[in-house]
């Protein structure tokens, strides 16, 4: 239980989880299940645990985000071609900075779209 209460503020600050993000499958609202342990839920408080998102590049210890790897970069853009914000993907500030540069380069050489074509 101590773990859960410790986690809650962090999950809150990492904030809004949109639809369509690469991590949306594991986030969101696990319909009330795991939080409802004995002595757990306080009334009036929203009661769900958000899994803390971790920077995918930090996990893999990436030092350089290659603009040529369009498949990887493609998972960080929305369907319409927008770059996903950090709050959705959990990418750390440093890697997000590199990522945007890489995505923009890839766009320039038609590896990634600027905007979805209709």
């Amino acid at each position: 239980m101590a773990e859960e209460t410790g986690q809650r503020p962090q999950g809150g600050s990492s904030g809004y989880q949109g639809s369509g993000g690469p991590r949306s499958s594991q986030g969101g609202r696990p319909g009330g299940g795991p939080g409802g342990g004995p002595g757990g839920p306080k009334r009036g408080k929203r009661n769900f645990i958000r899994k803390k998102k971790v920077c995918r590049f930090c996990v893999d210890k990436v030092d350089y985000i290659d603009y040529k790897k369009a498949e990887i970069l493609g998972s960080f853009i929305q369907e319409r071609g927008k770059i996903l914000p950090r709050r959705m993907t959990g990418t750390c500030a440093r890697h997000q900075r590199w990522l945007t540069v890489a995505i923009k380069r890839a766009q320039n050489i038609a590896l990634l779209p600027f905007a979805a074509e209709l």
Binding site: D63, Y64, N108, A110, L112, E117
Partner: protein, 140 residues
């Protein structure tokens, strides 16, 4: 002057015969050597689908090269050549040496830290581990 590394990518029209692509590559190479630059790598990625239409075409023949040069002029000339080359419909040059240097630096830094870490964490870890391990072992 210090050496600089550049990535050079260009996209040819998908209907250009292989021979013409090779011709473009060879002219690039000759221009580069003429201007004191060196082609380190040439990769033909082949026909690929592009993310958006360029000159109303969906596909393009991608060629990727790595150029090492001390002269900025060389890159300028290469870009000019690509611009006037008929089969080329899109090109991009990117300077990469600074980012590669940064990558090296970070890698070295991590290795040094990894080499140092065992001594640091080895001491506090064993005392922490047994108390956590024993109760569970007793409980189950």
């Amino acid at each position: 002057m210090e050496e600089r590394l550049y990535d050079l990518i260009f996209i040819c029209r998908p209907d250009t015969p292989e021979a013409d692509v090779d011709k473009v590559i060879s002219t690039i190479e000759s221009v580069a050597t003429e201007k004191g630059a060196k082609i380190e790598k040439t990769e033909k990625w082949g026909r690929k689908r592009m993310a958006y239409r360029v000159q109303r075409l969906r596909e393009g023949y991608y060629v990727y090269m790595v150029v090492r040069s001390t002269q900025g002029e060389a890159v300028k000339e290469l870009e000019r050549r690509l611009k006037v080359a008929d089969p080329v419909m899109k090109y991009l040059t990117i300077r990469t040496d600074e980012e590669l240097k940064r990558q090296e630096k970070l890698k070295k830094h991590r290795e040094r830290r990894a080499a140092r870490r065992p001594r640091k964490t080895a001491a506090p870890a064993p005392p922490a581990a047994p108390p956590a391990g024993e109760p569970t072992a007793a409980a189950f």
